[in-house]
């Protein structure tokens, strides 16, 4: 019996890889979704975005790279959809070098999706670049960029991603600094949200809502409790909760099924591993006592 458990503890890790791989593939292919419980940090995030008014645009800082996209892309899409659906204008930008092309793609795609839905619903309103959203692109140096936007956005970004002067964009006519914006949404797999809190939230008193990967979410609960961060989306779960709040079951809701099964598999292996470990330890102790 002991050798069985010892063999089990030395199981080829490729079996574990296979179990995880199958769980992910089946969960993503199968036509099922999961409901999630709404947690307070996500509810706050939702309420802050919803409180924005059409005359004050929302900054969406997409400080993302490809590696964290599976977790962060659903957050960005949900935020943009939430804004566009509520007629809230969006200023998109990226403080990470890998972010601009991802940010631009998400803005263009989401605007097109919302436009298709508006058309299908028979509404005349359309989401138009320059009127409902602008994309500023990337500027190096996180701190000076955030601080500079607090004085005059044109000093930091004289032109948008496409080379159009901000003064020529209808949406930007009366937008100069954080006083003219409703709030900041920063979505990132890095520590950039802390910079937004320190250099925009604190000095300019603008709410900063944050979306991060699950692995870094635990670091930011302190900021949510103190009110320095106006809401927090943590990982795929946070994105799925937000999708549920805006009634848009997207990629995160789908991904939660895969995450559910992978977590179950990991817990199953941990429990089995510990059971085998204790049985072997008890048997060895018994053998030692006999001697």
């Amino acid at each position: 019996m002991s050798s069985f458990f010892e063999k089990f503890l030395k199981i080829d890790r490729r079996w574990i890889f296979l179990a995880v791989g199958l769980a992910v593939i089946i969960a993503l292919v199968a036509p099922c979704q999961m409901s999630t419980t709404i947690t307070p940090p996500v509810q706050i995030f939702h309420d802050v975005v919803a409180a924005a008014t059409p005359d004050k645009p929302l900054i969406v800082s997409m400080d993302v790279g490809p590696s964290t996209l599976p977790e962060l892309e659903p957050m960005i899409k949900a935020t943009l959809r939430h804004a566009f659906a509520n007629n809230i204008k969006v200023i998109g930008l990226s403080l990470l070098i890998t972010g601009p092309s991802i940010g631009e793609r998400l803005l263009v795609d989401t605007a097109a999706e919302v436009n298709a839905e508006l058309e299908a619903a028979g509404e005349a309103r359309r989401i138009v670049q320059g009127e409902d959203w602008v994309f500023l692109g990337y500027k190096p140096g996180v701190t000076p960029v955030i601080l500079g936007m607090g004085e005059e956005i044109r000093n930091t970004f004289p032109v948008d991603y496409y080379g159009t002067y901000l003064d020529d964009l209808p949406m930007m006519q009366n937008v100069h600094n954080y006083d003219d914006m409703s709030s900041v949404v920063t979505i990132s797999g890095t520590a950039i949200p802390e910079s937004w809190v320190a250099f925009a939230g604190a000095p300019y008193d603008i709410p900063v809502s944050v979306g991060v990967t699950a692995v870094s979410a635990s670091n930011y609960y302190t900021y949510v409790q103190t009110g320095q961060m106006a809401g927090l989306l943590g990982g795929l779960k946070g994105a799925a909760e937000y999708e549920r709040l805006i009634n848009y079951p997207g990629m995160a809701s789908k991904g939660m099924v895969a995450q559910f099964w992978v977590h179950i598999i990991i817990v199953f292996f941990i429990v089995l591993g510990n059971t085998a470990f204790f049985i072997i330890r008890a048997q060895k102790k018994r053998q030692t006592d006999k001697k």
């Binding site: 995880v20 790279g65 631009e104 140096g141 302190t222 179950i264």
Partner: protein
């Protein structure tokens, strides 16, 4: 003199940067804005330094043919290719640069990150053992958080939120305050000229 001038600049810039935050005089704010513009320029120069450092480090390994030098050569070739394509072919929607980014770098980085799930599962099975009281506590917290993040069960979800909002936050806040105080102390040491390692040597 070679040391005194940089030290004086650090003292004046550091004190001005800190005090200008509290002085709302228009002249002071104008100077502050100018300094911020300089800061942005310095930030842009950092990219240049990064490129030089990247090429020097990888180039050295290629020329010395150290173990795995082929990977360094691939890194340099990729850098040169992307830069050339971006500079001469543009970075617009339909450009080759954009296609290489969307269909090359994005899936490669996503693949690297997604492999973590497999290794975490394997590592958790092998290393997560309740050998001591502390390890048992950690293991229980991990299991509750892992299940609470995915299962739609109210009490489990609440337990997860409690772990994240109370014990986790208590530890994280201690670390954050410690780091913050460390940053203030280091900044003061630089401004007052006590910490001079940024000048090189010492």
């Amino acid at each position: 003199m070679r040391r005194q001038i940089p030290l004086a600049i650090a003292l004046v810039a550091g004190l001005f940067g800190a005090l200008s935050y509290f002085i709302q005089d228009p002249t002071v704010q104008d100077i502050r804005e100018q300094l911020l513009a300089w800061l942005r320029l310095i930030g842009a120069f950092a990219i240049g330094i990064g490129i030089v450092s990247f090429l020097r480090n990888h180039g050295k390994k290629v020329t010395r043919q150290v173990s795995g030098w082929a990977f360094n050569a691939v890194a340099i070739a990729s850098f040169v290719a992307m830069t050339t394509i971006g500079l001469f072919g543009g970075i617009g929607d339909s450009s080759l640069f954009r296609k290489m980014f969307d269909f090359g770098q994005v899936p490669m980085e996503a693949t690297m990150f997604s492999l973590l799930a497999f290794f975490i599962a394997s590592a958790a099975f092998r290393a997560f053992r309740a050998r001591t009281k502390e390890a048992t506590l950690l293991l229980l917290a991990a299991v509750v958080v892992m299940l609470g993040r995915v299962a739609n069960i109210d009490w489990l979800s609440q337990a997860t939120e409690w772990i994240l909002a109370v014990p986790n936050t208590a530890a994280a806040r201690g670390i954050t305050i410690g780091v913050g105080l460390g940053i203030v102390a280091t900044a003061l040491k630089i401004v007052l000229g006590i910490e001079r390692s940024y000048l090189g040597g010492e």
